[in-house]
Amino acid sequence: MPAKRIIPCLDVKNGRVVKGIQFKQLRDLGHPVELARRYDQEGADELVFLDIAASLENRGTREAWVRDVARELSIPFTVGGGVSSVEDARSLLRAGADKVAVNTAASLRPDLVCELADAFGRQCVVAAVDVKRDADLGWRVYLKGGTEPTERSAVDWLWELNDLGAGEILLTSMDRDGTGDGFDLPLLDLASELPIPLIASGGAGLEVHFLEALEHGADAVLAATLFHEGILPIPRLKAYLAQNDLSVRI
């Protein structure tokens, strides 16, 4: 079994890493390469970059920073945001991304997942899924950054993504995201039955939350603010997880 992975997530807008403050103002945190280098040195196992303002116009900008990050980084990284075709994915992979994440486009046209898996192998395809608890469906899938509800049940959709050829699931609980109250553990219990790796996202606030998520079947945990703000340095988190008998890369 591979080690449990710790993954910082970076939001990128127009080639800069940004952080939202109360969903409105964006604070500039620096160039993707600067943050990538910092997390590489800190012991992150992998990075996820989400381009939050992906558009046709800024495609060139994105390829440029992806290329710069690939040359600098000695750990793998995923890029997502607006990937809706094999060509979008190809340009990111050619620029040096190890994996691409798809979300809204895959929900609107599930065949995209098959096409990507056929073209690049399923290990390149990360299916990102945003969900909220729901009285009817258990958990409901949302699109467009959690703003648009679908009729899909999260658990059904995860199995469908697995059948379509996704190589990994990045599962975000919108209920927990930004709360710091801990991951949605019952959700992880269900999702970890999938035969492909699971990245848990949404709700990390304390070291123990990461431990819980990993003990509830996640293969990797993702967080943003805790790492960006230096509230929980990665070496400290990994030492804590190792003390609790989890396999981590130290």
Partner: protein, 213 residues
Amino acid sequence: MSAGTITLIDYEAGNLASLEGALERLRLPYVRAASPDQAAESGPIVLPGVGHFEAAQRSLQERGWWGLLPALVAEGRPLLGICLGLQLLAEGSEEAPRTPGLGLVPGLVRRLGPGVKVPNMGWSRVRRASDHPALPDAEGAWLYFVHSYALEPSADTVYLADHGRPFAAVEARGKVMGFQPHPEKSGPDGLRLLQAALTWMGATAIAPEEPCL
């Protein structure tokens, strides 16, 4: 082009950007070669690769590499396969039962599992299976793996890793070598292994530029 230049096979089935970045950091000169006429005249050949065994085989065939690689190896040309590149060196793969491999290392590539998550995605420690004259001691080193199939261990296995069962992480037969993990994505330990392998195969680093006086 100096002797000791690495030839990096570019056949649309590999993440070349990261590998190029790693070679640049190691100051190892390389050329990207889509077809054999773009290859360096001597020096190690690197066969990267991600994706499907059969698609990669077909792509190498179309570009004129497939038949040529065993001939070059027979002449003593060093060859390093990475990830799917290692799997292509084997006799064949369960991923494409009707497509033979290059047969440059013994054994078959088999699907991982059952009972474990596939793809195997993440960092695993490797353990030494046999001594190698050039590779540094990497017992217990963490390396990054992304794969659904793996080469069964043989007498030529230098390092093993485990995912449900042991498999070949580093394989070496003469000047043919293969890495199942991505050394270019495996932090300092990975770079150290990549540097040692390529240097042993004849790659020569460029001296750092003299500072201006």
